[in-house]
Symmetry: C2
Subunit: 410 residues, 2 copies
């Protein structure tokens, strides 16, 4: 159901008249296409018989080295032997779930959390339990209490799944001063940390955050991705894991696909070794900073009183909370009718929470479209608030229709 909601949203968001603040697609058009094209051609000419051939289940050794240099930016000291290359970090998540989760197991996650991770845990018949966050990320004491409560109930958590940096969807980052405490809480509870970090190098101010993995190599499985820092169309992500876990992930990867695309792996490796990727990342950051600022400024300018939102230091997402009485999912068809799309908050919880919340993304539309979308959205919210204040309900014809927008709402 969650997956089909996302699909319906993507279908709507793809229509050009809609300002989509729903998707999480990076703006790949900002890549130097001519340089990438030349690089791809060189790869085939110079190394075609390797790039077009089967590779190893663990992934290309040279790329695994390069991945270690990328992770070093976040304070991680890792060996290429402990890296497993995957089809985006989504496959890494799936393989970790395959290795660790049995039906009925419990995974603790932030609330809200990444929608597709919830789908993966559900696919393995595991239950997700949320822990609250504030503007500094997950609350360590609430995490400890959750672990203790689950253990008392005979449902000891198997994993703590966290997106600590520029979280999807909340746009919140676990504060540096809380990180060691969170690791300590997990270690004491004997719960493995699954750190999902696709946005870490898209920090819009200062220096990159130090990854959780940097301070707890034996207790963390770290998931990384080139989908946001380079291009999702190559589907290159990875897991960095303690060696016993890594061995299981390699076997699982072999069973899942024999091996990942050698071409995609060598292309990423070549890009990172031959192109000025640090400069390109800087350009990405400037672009996304401008877009984030456009969104935050528009929210400030247009949103009615009672609406609140997070202020992300990086990544792609702002989490907006509506005033009492409003329902972001019921409101979505009206928003789409007015040509703006977002993702309702309930999709990011396993337990039906998030009715008053929505995720807005600033990654894909240009700044002026973002401003236009937020202004439109503010108008929709204002309309809903008037209904609520006048009638004590926001029920209108659309809320009786499908929960996600169909073609008739455009």
């Amino acid at each position: 159901m969650v997956a089909s909601e996302v699909r319906a949203l993507f279908a709507v968001a793809a229509r050009p008249e809609i300002v989509s603040l729903a998707g999480g697609m990076p703006n790949v058009s900002a890549l130097p296409m001519d340089a990438v094209a030349a690089m791809m051609a060189d790869l085939v000419t110079e190394r075609g018989s390797v790039a077009l051939q089967y590779g190893s289940a663990q992934g290309d050794p040279s790329l695994r080295e390069t991945i270690c240099t990328v992770m070093a930016e976040e304070g991680i000291d890792a060996h290429p032997d402990d890296v497993v290359v995957t089809v985006g970090s989504q496959q890494a998540l799936d393989l970790v779930a395959r290795v660790f989760l049995d039906p009925g197991d419990t995974v603790v996650t932030e609330g809200p959390t990444y929608v597709t991770a919830l789908g993966t845990f559900a696919a393995y018949q595991a239950r997700a339990v949320h822990v609250d966050m504030d503007e500094l990320g997950v609350l360590p004491e609430a995490l400890a209490e959750t672990f203790a409560r689950l253990e008392r109930a005979g449902r000891k958590a198997k994993l703590f799944y966290t997106v600590p940096t520029f979280q999807n969807p909340a746009g919140v980052t676990l504060a540096a001063e809380r990180r060691l405490r969170v690791l300590e809480v997990c270690r004491r509870a004997g719960v493995l940390v699954l750190e999902d970090n696709p946005y870490g190098l898209l920090h819009l101010e200062g220096e990159p955050m130090r990854a959780l993995r940097a301070d707890a190599p034996a207790d963390v499985v770290y998931l990384g991705s080139f989908s946001k820092t380079l291009a999702p169309g190559l589907r290159v992500g990875w897991a960095l894991a303690p060696s016993a876990v890594r061995d299981k992930l390699v076997l699982a990867a072999e069973s899942a696909m024999l091996s990942h695309s050698a071409f995609a792996q060598l292309a990423v490796d070549r890009y990172l070794r031959t192109q000025p990727w640090q400069e390109q990342l800087k350009a990405f950051r400037e672009m996304y900073r401008e877009r984030r600022d456009a969104m935050l400024n528009a929210l400030q300018e247009h949103m009615p009183a009672g609406v609140s939102w997070t202020r992300p230091g990086g990544g792609f997402f702002v989490w907006v909370t509506l005033p009492e009485g409003l329902d972001s999912k019921a409101m979505l068809p009206r928003a789409v009718q007015n040509r703006v799309a977002y993702v309702p908050g309930t999709g990011f919880y396993a337990d039906g929470a998030g009715q008053r919340a929505m995720r807005l993304s600033y990654c894909y539309p240009p700044p002026e479209r973002i401003a236009e979308g937020v202004r439109t959205l503010a108008g929709v919210i204002r309309g809903e608030l008037e209904l609520w204040e006048t009638f004590g309900t926001t029920a209108h014809p659309h809320s009786r229709g499908p929960q996600t927008p169909g073609p008739d709402h455009s």
Copy 2:
């Protein structure tokens, strides 16, 4: 264990002094690399913002159309809506297993069968039961009896997994006159057919075989791949499934990886739409025909009496059966010591059968190396036979060592 054996073999086979008749790697060096390089560059230049972006979980619509035209070569009339693009057909196999198999389930397969499929079924805790083949493929009556026996034992088969055409590893093809009977047997038993067909268009004589799927659209899930007809390094395969199954496969694909590489998919689609792929396939067939003939001629010339083998009409593999008393796995270290490698037959059975068998592949080494490898292998077999005839055992120091060759045997 099976996976690690294969890995150990690949490690050995990669050493240049060994004639490897073990691997299943296509000879991608025969591709027109300059044309492929130019095509890749054009793809980025002209469609970079799509090729480098996320795609849909089901796969690129244009490629799914093209896949239908490829399948038409084997008599299949399919709609692109029923195709799901996967990371090689291995991922399709994994997704089918994920959708259909529960722990304790039974899958019926040919004996011998594709080693990695056995690994996949085992990963989902399903049991594989083999049905015998002769030189015309699986025996329909034996298949019917196996289904009946399993049903009586309360273990009704969930799937019949078959590689009907140019089978890996046996090099045997299910005869045209048996195909409808096999479909009928499966239909009566209510068992879904999983037709794995990576080699169908690599027929070395006459016309392509008509796929099982062509005559039973509702009863067959068909798995295809570009790994052998184009290049495994792009990892593009697919499943064609009845729509109810297809929907489940799309959800499983989304959970497994969000979406496959748009770049890889558009590259394959562009290759098929802009390059003379039929001509290229013809060139591949000529190359593999020459290699197959080199292998069959060398077997005929060098093998001692009592050794028998199959005569494949396509694909990559010959299945060799040794005389009574010999053990292909125990013999492998001595073969590698003599600089030839193969895959012992036991890996292709779930039940320990295949001790006297081995798989030889003719896809990768050039003809003269194939002939050299077979001649060497014949010498090793002759040596083993002498030991057996003299002492009634072939035990020698190596057979007490590791079952798969280590670096010390080179």
